[in-house]
Subunit: 227 residues, 2 copies
C-alpha cells in the first residue's frame, strides 16, 4: 500500500510543475507581445492568446499586467546576470569580454531577455522605471575593471567608472541601432569594436596584445556557438 | 484708399500666420505627450490639452494621430540636420565633432527633437518605422569621415563605415543610458569620450594632437552656450 504522504507528495509535485509551466508560458507569451507592441499597448487578451492560457488561468498566478511585467523583468535579470564559469586562466578582462559578448548574443536570441531589456531602456514604458538594472550593470562592469587594474591589465590611471560607461552605453547603442535599421548580422563584431575602443587606450603595454587577441578569439568562439 | 488686393494680401498673411502658429502648437503639444507616455499611448485629447487647441481646431490641420506624428518627425529632422556654418579653418573632423556635440545638446534641450529621436529609436513605436533617419545619419557621418581621410586627418586604412557606426551607436547609447538612469549632467563629456574612442586609433599622427585638442575645446565651447 502506498503511504498517504507519498500520494500527497506526488500530487503537490504535479501541482508545482503545472504552476511553473503556466507561469513560464505566461512570461513567454507576455515577452512576445511586449516585443511586438511595447508594454503599454499590450492587452491581457493578447498575452493570453500568445501564452495559450485562458485569462482566468493567468489571473490564478498574476494579479495584473504590472505583475506579469515584473515577472518578465525578474526572469530577464536572472538570465542576464549568469556569470560564466571562470576558467583558471581567465583574467578579469578576459571574463568581462566573454561575459559582455555572451550577453549581446543572449539579447539577440532570447525573447524574454529582449523584452526585459526593452522595457528597461525605453523611457516611460513602465509605471515604475527599472533604473536599478542599468545602475547595477554599470557598477558590476566597473568592479571588474577595478579588478583588472589591480591585476595590472589596465594602467594605474584608468578610470573604471568612465570605461564602464563607455562599454555599457556602447552596448545599449549597438543593440538599439541594429534593431532600428533591422541589421543584426554584425552584432558581435560591432561589440568587439566597442570593447576595443573602450579598453585599448587604457591597457597596460605588457597585457595589450594578449587582451586584444582574447577579444578577437572570444568573438570567433561565441559566433561559432551561434550555428 | 487701400487697394483690395492689399487687404486680401493681409488677410491671407494673417491666416497663414495663424495656421503656422496652430500647427506649431500641435507639434509642440504632441511632442510633450509623446515624451511622457510614448506615441502609442498618446491620445488625441491629451495632445489637444497640451497644445491648448480644441480637437476640432487640430483636425483642421491634421487628419489623424499618425499625421501629427509625421509632422513631429519632419520637424525633428529639420532641426536635427542643420549643418553649422563652416568656418574656413574647419577641417572635416572639426565639423563632425562640433556638429555631433551640438546634436547631443539639442537633443537634451529641445523636446521636439527628443520626441522625434525617441519615436525613431524605440522599436515598434510607430506604425511605419522611421529607419531612413538612422541610415541617413550613418551615411552622412561616413561621408564626412571619407572627406577627413582624403584631407589626411585619418589614416588611409580607416574604415569610414565602421567608425560611423561606432560614433552613431555611441551617441544613441549615451543618450539612452543617461535617460534611463536620469543622469544628464555629463552628456557632452560622455560624447567626447565616445568620439575620442572612435577616432583616436585612426587619426593621422600629424593631425592627432590638433583633432583631440579641438574635441576638448568644442566640448568646453558648447557647454558654455548652455548657461
Amino acid at each position: 500500500m502506498v503511504p498517504k504522504s507519498h500520494i500527497s507528495g506526488r500530487s503537490t509535485q504535479w501541482h508545482a510543475d503545472k504552476a511553473r509551466a503556466t507561469r513560464t508560458a505566461v512570461i513567454e507569451g507576455a515577452a512576445t507581445v511586449f516585443n511586438e507592441v511595447g508594454y503599454r499597448s499590450a492587452v491581457i487578451s493578447a498575452i493570453s492568446r500568445a501564452a495559450k492560457i485562458t485569462p482566468g488561468g493567468m489571473y490564478h498566478y498574476f494579479d495584473s499586467k504590472e505583475d506579469i511585467a515584473q515577472a518578465v523583468l525578474d526572469e530577464f535579470e536572472a538570465r542576464w546576470s549568469v556569470v560564466p564559469e571562470r576558467a583558471p586562466e581567465d583574467s578579469p578582462l578576459g571574463m568581462l569580454i566573454s561575459m559582455t559578448l555572451r550577453q549581446m548574443q543572449r539579447l539577440h536570441k532570447d525573447r524574454i531577455v529582449r523584452a526585459g531589456f526593452r522595457m528597461t531602456f525605453e523611457p516611460g514604458t513602465l509605471p515604475t522605471p527599472n533604473t536599478s538594472f542599468a545602475e547595477q550593470w554599470l557598477a558590476s562592469v566597473a568592479a571588474v575593471l577595478v579588478d583588472a587594474r589591480e591585476a595590472g591589465e589596465l594602467t594605474s590611471d584608468a578610470n573604471a567608472d568612465e570605461i564602464a560607461w563607455t562599454i555599457v552605453s556602447g552596448f545599449v547603442g549597438t543593440y538599439t541601432l541594429a534593431e532600428t535599421i533591422g541589421q543584426h548580422a554584425n552584432l558581435l563584431s560591432r561589440m568587439e569594436a566597442v570593447l576595443a575602443g573602450a579598453l585599448r587606450e587604457h591597457l597596460d603595454p605588457d597585457h595589450r596584445d594578449r587582451v586584444l587577441t582574447a577579444l578577437r578569439y572570444s568573438v570567433a568562439a561565441i559566433s561559432d556557438t551561434d550555428a
